[in-house]
Symmetry: C5
Subunit: 355 residues, 5 copies
Amino acid sequence: MHTPELKAQGPILDKAPRVGASDTTVHGEVSVSLIEYGPQGCHETLFSSVAEGLAYQTKAEVLWLNVYGLANPELMQAIGQRFGLHPLVQEDILSVRQRPKVEEYDGYLFLATRVFHYLAGEERRLQSEPMYMVVGQGFVLTFQPHPLGVFGAVRERLKKPDSMLRLHGADFLAYTLIDAVIDDYFGVLDDFGNRVETIDRQLLADKSGGVLRSIHRLKYEGMRLRRALLPLRDMLNQMTRGDLPQFRPETRLWLRDAFDHCLHLLESLDASRDMVAGMLDLYLSIQSNRLNVQMRVLTIISIIFMPLTLIAGIYGMNFDYMPELHWRWGYFAVLAVMGLIGAGIAFSFSRRRWL
Amino acid sequence: MHTPELKAQGPILDKAPRVGASDTTVHGEVSVSLIEYGPQGCHETLFSSVAEGLAYQTKAEVLWLNVYGLANPELMQAIGQRFGLHPLVQEDILSVRQRPKVEEYDGYLFLATRVFHYLAGEERRLQSEPMYMVVGQGFVLTFQPHPLGVFGAVRERLKKPDSMLRLHGADFLAYTLIDAVIDDYFGVLDDFGNRVETIDRQLLADKSGGVLRSIHRLKYEGMRLRRALLPLRDMLNQMTRGDLPQFRPETRLWLRDAFDHCLHLLESLDASRDMVAGMLDLYLSIQSNRLNVQMRVLTIISIIFMPLTLIAGIYGMNFDYMPELHWRWGYFAVLAVMGLIGAGIAFSFSRRRWL
Amino acid sequence: MHTPELKAQGPILDKAPRVGASDTTVHGEVSVSLIEYGPQGCHETLFSSVAEGLAYQTKAEVLWLNVYGLANPELMQAIGQRFGLHPLVQEDILSVRQRPKVEEYDGYLFLATRVFHYLAGEERRLQSEPMYMVVGQGFVLTFQPHPLGVFGAVRERLKKPDSMLRLHGADFLAYTLIDAVIDDYFGVLDDFGNRVETIDRQLLADKSGGVLRSIHRLKYEGMRLRRALLPLRDMLNQMTRGDLPQFRPETRLWLRDAFDHCLHLLESLDASRDMVAGMLDLYLSIQSNRLNVQMRVLTIISIIFMPLTLIAGIYGMNFDYMPELHWRWGYFAVLAVMGLIGAGIAFSFSRRRWL
Amino acid sequence: MHTPELKAQGPILDKAPRVGASDTTVHGEVSVSLIEYGPQGCHETLFSSVAEGLAYQTKAEVLWLNVYGLANPELMQAIGQRFGLHPLVQEDILSVRQRPKVEEYDGYLFLATRVFHYLAGEERRLQSEPMYMVVGQGFVLTFQPHPLGVFGAVRERLKKPDSMLRLHGADFLAYTLIDAVIDDYFGVLDDFGNRVETIDRQLLADKSGGVLRSIHRLKYEGMRLRRALLPLRDMLNQMTRGDLPQFRPETRLWLRDAFDHCLHLLESLDASRDMVAGMLDLYLSIQSNRLNVQMRVLTIISIIFMPLTLIAGIYGMNFDYMPELHWRWGYFAVLAVMGLIGAGIAFSFSRRRWL
Amino acid sequence: MHTPELKAQGPILDKAPRVGASDTTVHGEVSVSLIEYGPQGCHETLFSSVAEGLAYQTKAEVLWLNVYGLANPELMQAIGQRFGLHPLVQEDILSVRQRPKVEEYDGYLFLATRVFHYLAGEERRLQSEPMYMVVGQGFVLTFQPHPLGVFGAVRERLKKPDSMLRLHGADFLAYTLIDAVIDDYFGVLDDFGNRVETIDRQLLADKSGGVLRSIHRLKYEGMRLRRALLPLRDMLNQMTRGDLPQFRPETRLWLRDAFDHCLHLLESLDASRDMVAGMLDLYLSIQSNRLNVQMRVLTIISIIFMPLTLIAGIYGMNFDYMPELHWRWGYFAVLAVMGLIGAGIAFSFSRRRWL
């Protein structure tokens, strides 16, 4: 079990000693498709059962086996045995806990990455799914939990009669699939950037604090995207440097381009994240500014009305001997004094900008 | 004393020249178990005294000596002499002040790490204990202050008749034990993540400030976990790189997997810590927002009622000559004026969103 | 298509097999100019159509082809074929998504950078455009979306009879163009610095919060400039280190100077950005200080007037038996008491600086 | 003067050509002690004058010269000449401005570090003093401004008849002295940690702001300790790596242990510093929370009492025609209305948690 | 012009083909002094014109040419040609935009650094000037815009008959000059540290916000100093590593000391900057604390007086039937009730520390 053997040139899924009569397990969410191609042509086969797949024979130059649905240990074991995958690789593909990485094994590479998409619905929650890839001599295996359409365009290109893709080997297919994943990220990041701008426009109008929660959700999503992109960048950097013999020199030039796109993704994500951080600061400064304005208004109002109310209170006292009360123009004099005091205070505020 | 000699192939604990009659000290909290195994079988022995252990003879391929209870210098010295441990290693195991590290000595490795667990009870405090391991040619020694059950699963696997574990050497056992420690961290981090989410849900409802202290406690715990995981990651990285001859190349592939799990732990911890930091910011912004709302309410209330109270005060003055008081509809006119002023201010606020 | 061939010594744009009758597409915003020079002289030709350019023959030592307008795939393909550019380079030049970088291809270098300028108008928005350069043996190609005048000075220097520029090769021209781009940044950063200082002067006077939005816009612009300058610095560093054979050792000394200017740009940008960050902090601290002053005033006013208003209210009560009301000097006594209380509170504040 | 010569095997302080009749300067605070030892024994001599020291002869294997009091250029010069110290080393030891470092000279090492201690007294101020060490072939020189007792335990160990210390060379003595310095730091950091915890307990009770100043002082002290520990760590790392021939391989294992202790010190310091930073944040959040509570109370009180006071004011007006005043139950009706309004507002607050 | 030739052993400023009759330009602010020395002696010459300088002949071992005043292209060109300086060096010295750096040219080093000083006057503004140095075989050139006295002490030391300085070459002179620059920084940083402490003492007393602006100015100054010291440190590190053949091994030991002083400068600057940052935090926390105290006072005052004022208002109403008004002790009962309510509220606050 610890000495992986590479048997990719032979038929696919030819034997599954430990799976036995488990054909029935390959149903429901699990679906397996095999694309085999070369300069001459391209052929796709969909398998409805493992047994069917095991009986299949091929002579094509490049094989691409795509599996949707990960929770199937028997299928995994069959594939693992057919392509000589190390137990650790099989375990990694089956487990949910995988961080993006590239690992070199004897004769093949194992790549793990994540694919993001926004859920439909009012809330537009950001979700992610793992995507695994094994790149060997003449074959590429891809594993995803659900069909999200990331590889649709690649499949179309392969089926076109004069496709350049068919002229290259399995390593170029691997590059093309990684490029499709990166293209998918561009869409997600555009979406993210649009939401940041939408909320930026709502920032000044908001008084209820609803925008605050949105900003914080954007912040979390930005962190999650970054956490997925950083190892992807490291993966691509490692592949570009040329340490991995699976990728031929002419493919490395294209990988360098994919690496560059990944750097671009990270920079545009960082720009959006800076904007979110700035929005949060701006929101809080606007709040603080508003508080100041309110406080100033309250203070001015209090300074103006408190003395006037006191004066009115004084002449509302019931003392027997209050000479002013009996003056002919006392009432108007008091009103005038009140008006003068109020105007004076207001004037001194507007003049000296004291507060 | 400075020239450590490796005598692991001979009997365990056969002589203890400096311990003398200290058999009685190996009681209470200290317990020593020895598991010896090979492809043929596995045997576990529990020692109730050092003397008993000293008399024990073994011929198995791999020895695993597990000690619970660290505060026993005589036992330490006996074991140290039996396995040729450097005085510094003995000192490190006995001391409480140890940071996670891996140190290479002549013929064996010394590993120190920490194991975390949540105390039962209302408060669920996070506690940690040191865990020491010595990996040599054909033997693994583990030292822990208390039995926490981290290695229970490994012991079970060893005892299973067809266990793959028995086919490998001491280095694979060391990997398996480290993996058990990492699995233990996964549980602790899940627990930590759950508590973060629980408090996140309480965030908006809280007005008493109780949630604030909880957030800060989570922040501390996150720091402590990070401080334990970082050196663990460095340890595993060092072991994976292959500088250490104790680990054979085929085991290194498995160590790389453990290293990867450790990176995963750190990333998931960082995600939780980012969430805690975001919660703190969010809490403070919500507070600030609330303050603003209260201030706005207070200011509006003051602006509406202060002028009205002044008017009522003015007509409560006792001047002899106040013509309005004697008008037929004066009272209702004043009430109407008051109503108009109040409504006007309220209207202007709602209209111009002045505050 | 994957084996780039260098044919720069032959005529420019001599054939365009895939462009066909697309001459009409090279109009409107696209304009192509060719400068050819050597120690003997310098000649500039403007092409109004691709066909015209394709028919052109040259024998000069250095060719500089400058293209304004990027959205023209046919022109790009013609140039690409003429100078043997890799499909990835052509794709990069046509795409809008390009981060600053330098890439080495077989026989030539591809450089991508950004040029910034402030839009005219009230708001003075900061805009950027990509600028691409290909440096090969005896030729330099530059691509820009619009004529912004960055290379005007270089063109002038080339046309001067005794220009030192003509004595050097294509690599020195490339250095001169990069230096022109860097000089352009100095202008933009001066402008940026001036705006920072303008807003710094408005900081203390502002009460409306308008300055807040300006500070945040400066913050974003600073980030954008930094994000463009950082890869430019890395590019120049790479060129200076001498890994790229396109640049001869004597040119590298000049590139080191350009690298140094780029470091200077970054430091002066960082100084401005620190100032912006400081302004934001200062603004918020001033706000907080103002809030404190207002609060102190409000509190003092309330402490002084609330007791006095209560006293006035008490003597405004209508109880039958209130002896003070009938005292001869009751009213004046109350006024005096009020004055004393008010003065006492004010005195205690000014004396003990209690608040 | 620039060609240092190592003459450590000869007698100590035998000649002091430039010091001359300066014996009288070696009094007061300066005190010199010489410990000479080997496997056979250990002997300590205290010198009351330089001349006395110059006349002293020794044959021991290891010499440890300890000097208290640094401000004595003549003594420094005598020692410098006796042990062949570079002028820069002499200058460094005499100057107050020294950062922790290790410097390799021809034949000996110069180490500078700092020793911390808390001053007695109410305030418990943290103070530091420089500590210099020169490690050569067969001798160790230590220089301190005052006797702080850091090396007391080492001196005791040397004097014990069966001390292991005597069996090793000067490099092991140097390690032991460095270890004593590190042990001293453990005490200081424990003290620091205790004070952090003391203030943490006072945090919630404090309303005067006194705790704020204490937190800030702890923050400064933490920075100072960190600034001293970081270069100490680098020093030890450098010594452990084995670049310095003064330390033999068997001593390096012990130095690695000291390095590890130093990392432990830094981690525990960082934990305390994180706690201080968290306390500051917590203090401010508690403040902000308290402000919110106060504001809520003030707003609720104002909303309840302002309308009621207005109503009371209205019925205190002196209009001739106010029908309600003459109703039989008008007064009680108004009281009832007031009660209803107050209760209604209070109820709506408690019900809808509006603020 | 691109092949610099070293002609330092010949006469200084002997020919100036491109300067022509520009002798008159060397007046006003420009002043040139030449110090020539060797073990035998030292001689200083002041030139009042370039022609005078050009005619001067020397045979001394080391030449130090010091120029005050940079805005003189003709003089620069003359010196550049005499010492074979690269056009880039000449350009750098003439330009104002120079960041600290060390650059190696064929046969000499070019060093650029900055010198700081505080302007006299009330505000004590921090100003900086560039300082350039060229170190070649047997000569050192220094360029400064104004005489600031930084090199005064070096000049004095050179003129002393038994100066050690004269025994060493040009590289030691260069070290001595750099050391003088570093000593100058010590003075500036002491000044900076003193101002930080002065403002720290004013912190608690300030209520006007004036201290806030001072803190922010210190923050800026700290950043500027740091930005000048960081490249100086890198310069010295590069010189110490020994890559530059201009500095002989025995000088490198002294450069290491200068490097160390530079690290010390940076650490003490960082300590001051941390203190400034802490002061800002402390100021804001004090503000926040004060706001809290004020708010508490305001809230307590409002809670006490608002109910009492309402009660007084109620008994000031003019209803015909208000039985309490006619009670014999109604007035005193109300006063008593008021007193009880006020005391009760005050008591409950002081008792339960509710706010």
